[in-house]
Symmetry: C2
Subunit: 270 residues, 2 copies
């Protein structure tokens, strides 16, 4: 099985991929968008991408790309995340910090306190950052300790994210919907007209009335005008079964612009 | 009147500040967090900061900082945003692109298409990026055209954000709550227990039942565990008047952890 993910080797995505499918053949992509669209484009059988972090919130590019995707979500993994500061040089020599925007956000306060004057560079992945830091002793990467091993860097500080407890949730994209297991979750995207006040309340009512538990709600701009959103909602249950099937049918009947992104077995909780 | 904002000169915040109060004495801060807390810390009478963008969504650091703030929101400004690519050098020579994470997100596709190999650096502000680009002809900043004038750069491309229509909403923080004008908006932050399914629905019900229009909803992680959020909600009306006052009282009665961030006159719509 070919499993697509953000590369190069040593990303947190790789740790999640190994947890998901230890024997898969890993196919590394240079940027997050390509990892999301990889199954749609026939480049691999499945792909795994981060979708939200408990400190910094949603991975915007993943949410935005999901809207036009054909491949369904078929699974999820939750990983505890320890951001490491790694370099060839010493703490006192660090002048440049390099990482992805998400980890930089997770370590915002740390960077501000310890490196107020450092130059901060954004790269496509934490492992790519570690690769860059190989070249310059005054550069430090922020990422997975695995990357330090792979690229010959020292871990100077471990767990530098702004709160000790930090988790990232990854989703797995595949070619076919998966059947219900009895312990499922469904991800939905819904567009609610900004000119209809109360639309979100009405929408949530279809779930609340049926005692369907919502585990997540996230809004992303529709990119048209301010105040116009797509909502990304996760609920318990499988879209093809029981009360959730009913709720989705009721919403379709009301002409709600709803996209079922996938139903899949819930990951074991932290 | 001393008005705090993100500096140096030439940021989009400065354009918003001039619209808000042309005669104010501008007090520039190095980073967004300091601009948000400036009134709380007695460093200025008011401060103006971006809170959301129609392409890239919320400004995370502003939302996160609002939660602990004493200063109320007293106003808003909405600005059309044209991101400019500016440099001392030529388009073909650009190897490094520098800007804030928000503008980089607004131009994500453009950068990916036109500069797939460029190094991308994140700075504290767009004007700071322009200042850096003064030094190296192979470096381009993304920001406000005003910054190009100030720092002697050429505007190489104008309006490079991923959609032509692009707006940023700024909020103004002050020392005192402002009285109702009849055309007001109220910003709220509410913490909803993740272990109480349907809590968001119930919360929104207090507004929907009273026909209070919601113009925005945004979730930010509580930074404790996945699935645990603060919601940032904007509604029409003033917290000290009429049905909105009633709704807030009803929520307080239910022990909802609700913070009124401020009631203020609505900005003229785009």
């Amino acid at each position: 099985m070919k499993l697509g993910l953000l590369g190069p080797e040593g990303t947190f995505s790789e740790a999640a991929a190994k947890k998901w499918s230890p024997d898969a053949e890993m196919v590394f992509f240079d940027d997050m968008e390509s990892a999301v669209t990889a199954v749609d484009e026939g480049l691999c059988d499945e792909s795994i991408v981060p979708v939200e972090n408990s400190l910094e919130g949603p991975v915007n590019v993943v949410l935005d790309t999901l809207l036009d995707l054909r491949s369904p979500i078929i699974g999820e993994e939750v990983l505890p995340i320890k951001q490491c500061l790694m370099s060839r040089g010493e703490f006192k020599d660090i002048k440049v910090i390099v990482s992805m925007s998400q980890p930089l956000g997770q370590c915002r306060r740390y960077i501000h306190e310890h490196f107020p004057l450092a130059e901060v560079r954004a790269t496509g992945s934490t492992a790519h950052a570690a690769k860059l830091a190989q070249e310059f002793p005054e550069m430090a990467a922020i990422g997975c300790s695995e990357a330090a091993k792979l690229y010959g860097l020292k871990v100077i500080r471990e767990g530098i994210q702004d709160q000790p407890m930090n988790h990232t949730r990854f989703i797995v994209l595949g070619t076919h919907n998966v059947a219900a297991t009895g312990r499922d979750k469904t991800s939905l995207a819904v567009y609610l007209d900004r000119d209809r006040p109360g639309a979100l309340y009405e929408f949530l009512g279809e779930f609340a009335r049926r005692s369907i538990n919502m585990t997540r709600i996230e809004s992303r701009p529709s990119k048209k005008v301010l105040g116009d959103y797509w909502f990304f909602i996760d609920v318990e249950g499988h879209a093809a079964e029981g009360v959730l099937k009913e709720a989705i049918a009721a919403l379709a009947h009301k002409n709600t612009r709803l996209k079922v992104l996938g139903s899949y077995p819930r990951a074991d909780i932290l």
